[in-house]
Symmetry: D2
Subunit: 255 residues, 4 copies
């Protein structure tokens, strides 16, 4: 398998994990290592990256070891998101970012018009934008056309753990895309991640499924294997489904 | 995780694979190694295990390396199955066997009454019986009571690749069982195997999903990871499903 | 559409309803009328059919208007079931009966071996047996061969409302059968009943889905329409599923 | 049940049907009557409504009997759609219209930005807009805020017959909406229509599922009943789903 390439950089892992909801930075770091992820996404507005008087995430997850992907969680307008990411660039020099502009607090669905506005502005300022979006193929195409470097449709509402709700939309987005398509949000357990990859997606991003498992480190390892399994199954080309049984062994035997 | 224990022997892998439908014994062996399986099941009535003038499966899959699990594929009566397994014991000394007594050629569903009859007789003769069965919890309980060492309900018709059709029945069988429950038949792709394991099952047996993939060796590797992923996800305790979104980051941020 | 024919008698309705869990006989009767059912099934061991000092179901649901179908709910052995139905015949002259022999209290799955034993005995005594069974096509075939007049596979555990869990098994049972196949147990809402009928089944039996709805009478009417809808959809021959969109109107228009 | 109210007018039927793909206007009319629909939608760019030298749909479906709902099928820009509907108003006086602005020919997904633009313009010109849209709750909210009189999210790609792919998105749209929500596109068979209604939607629009059934008139009747069934099931309040069985009859009987 070729590596995942995002914004010109290669990654062996196709799993991106979050840094919210963990009991401690130490547990987060342990889960990150178990997951095999090379990219971790960080809410700029929440995670302490710079205050030296408090525990810092970077003390646990070395930015030399992991690609930090700042995100705009909690931003509900293009302006908020743009301001947040400019701060991130000033603070840490981050250029590759995950844009999410949310539409409301109950569904945490993206506001696609604000997302498009913010993406255009940020791209014009030299950011590399991985973009959280709805599962609408037309919007996904538009985001690619304005220069986003990865399309990240939700599989189900953020934090819901409902699994991939709209495989048809996700599949169509992937078939049309020339940049990586990474399912972002909705995964609840390992098979959900495998299903996302079996649709042909290039990667999966998740947070709650690992952070809120009873044993986050073990679930992180499960997700690592699930993503690899789904990817390999996609590349291997699955058997056709059949209406009836088909014997593994010819029914007329040797004996 | 504790190892899988069947008939007193420990296995690290929870994946059992078949030996039908492969283009060659060599490809079968390569897939077996990629899958990490330690048990391979062999149709006694079909696979050449003993004729020295023909290629022998044992030349490719060393019985020292893999546990051979003779099966009764193609048997439609208890008598057929019993005779076949007695032959297997004479020929190769196999005592641990997989019993399947089929009900018809179109569905390849087990004939549960014949299966029970055959199992009782074989157990009285000292065989260790892993038993292919329907997803009926009452029948599964009966099979355990008469002494079968593993219960192997179908997930969908043999060779159909339809995925786990009856998760409720499988889950109930597992909750009630004191011997390993191994889903046998129905897996089509990696996520199906993960789902079987997430139900709490102790293992998965498959043949067609690997043998009829476009790239059997890669699919074998996918299945290895899918089974590990599903097992770990089960043990890790998945997050609850939620009707609405749940933010990874508190919506009131630092900035 | 031809009528449903069971044991030589024609019915216009393909919905059979139960008589358990209702708040009152009056509500039960109102729901029965709203459902359009012509057959109601009655637990011989529970429902008062004969004690004149207590309210009697027959005062609310006239046996001249509804076919009473005595059932053996609560029987866990063939002997129990046979004794119960002999009593029913003595008390009310009922010959057409629904046999259920349960395997355990937690799953209420049928014990298929006891069911077969009871069915054979009852048929030899002249009963017409509609039989609750697992979704195992081989068992269903056996029940038909010994003379049952309707095969009634469960769609999901009794009272669970989980919907049709194993459409593949049910479809295969129906394709093979020469007597009516009636899904018994598992329906939770209207679409579940429609799905059962779209598989080609001849009818649906339900109790809890109506009795435990917030408004049982309205749900009874919903089920009446759902069964008719599913039947008509099956007979009408549905459109094929397509991977992509297909315009209702040619894209080159008139203007 | 209260009637469906769209743009101030009451309808008893919650099913809207299309007028494409039928073999003849006569068959279309017969199906329309069997469906009980009171609204039929008509592609302005395709259906002959005014040329007296050709068969006219209005000769078969009397505009006094059915509400004609002109639609913009085949329009890929806001300008196209607006021009088409202005023509419709001139030709037939239609003010209540269905707006669809498509994003591409393969998926027939709506282009939501063009849709919003067209909707705003048309509303400012006094049209009543029922609007085909994606299943994105934020877009749906926006369409309601600018004054659309009905929100019509797709259940699956137009003409695909895949059934309701994203029940979570549809449910959330409905929970947030103060105008009718009508699932438009994706229904393949009767149970799909029932499922849409069970989510709480106010209606369903379909074309291919009826027009391409083997027997369109019978399927139209199936859909009539399915919509009624799903609506009643929603209003009746379904039973909760349970993990295990729950006996219809107490297991300790009278006898």
């Amino acid at each position: 398998d070729a590596p995942l390439v995002v914004a010109g950089k290669e990654y062996k892992s196709r799993l991106i994990i979050g840094t919210g909801k963990y009991e401690s930075y130490a547990l987060n770091a342990e889960a990150a290592r178990a997951s095999g992820a090379e990219i971790v996404t960080v809410a700029v507005r929440r995670v302490n990256l710079t205050d030296p008087s408090q525990p810092k995430l970077t003390d646990f997850l070395d930015p030399e070891e992991f690609t930090y992907l700042p995100n705009t969680a909690g931003c509900f307008t293009a302006e908020d998101a743009v301001r947040t990411l400019r701060l991130a660039r000033e603070a840490g020099g981050w250029k590759l970012v995950k844009l999410e502009v949310l539409g409301d607090q109950k569904t945490l669905y993206p506001d696609m018009r604000e997302t498009l506005r913010a993406a255009e502005l940020l791209i014009s300022e030299g950011f590399e934008i991985m973009v959280y979006c709805s599962d609408d193929p037309i919007m996904a195409r538009e985001l690619e056309q304005i220069g986003c470097c990865a399309i990240m449709p939700l599989g189900a509402p953020i934090g819901s753990g409902l699994g991939i709700q709209n495989p048809v939309g996700i599949r169509i987005i992937k078939e049309n895309a020339n940049v990586p398509v990474i399912v972002d949000a909705g995964v609840g357990t390992a098979s959900d991640a495998a299903i996302a990859m079996e649709l042909g997606c290039d990667g999966v991003l998740m947070n709650t499924a690992i952070a809120e498992a009873r044993d986050p480190v073990r679930m992180a390892r499960a997700m690592k294997h699930a993503v690899e399994a789904g990817r390999d199954a996609y590349l291997a080309g699955r058997m056709p489904k059949k209406r009836y049984a088909d014997p593994s062994s010819p029914l007329a035997g040797l004996i």
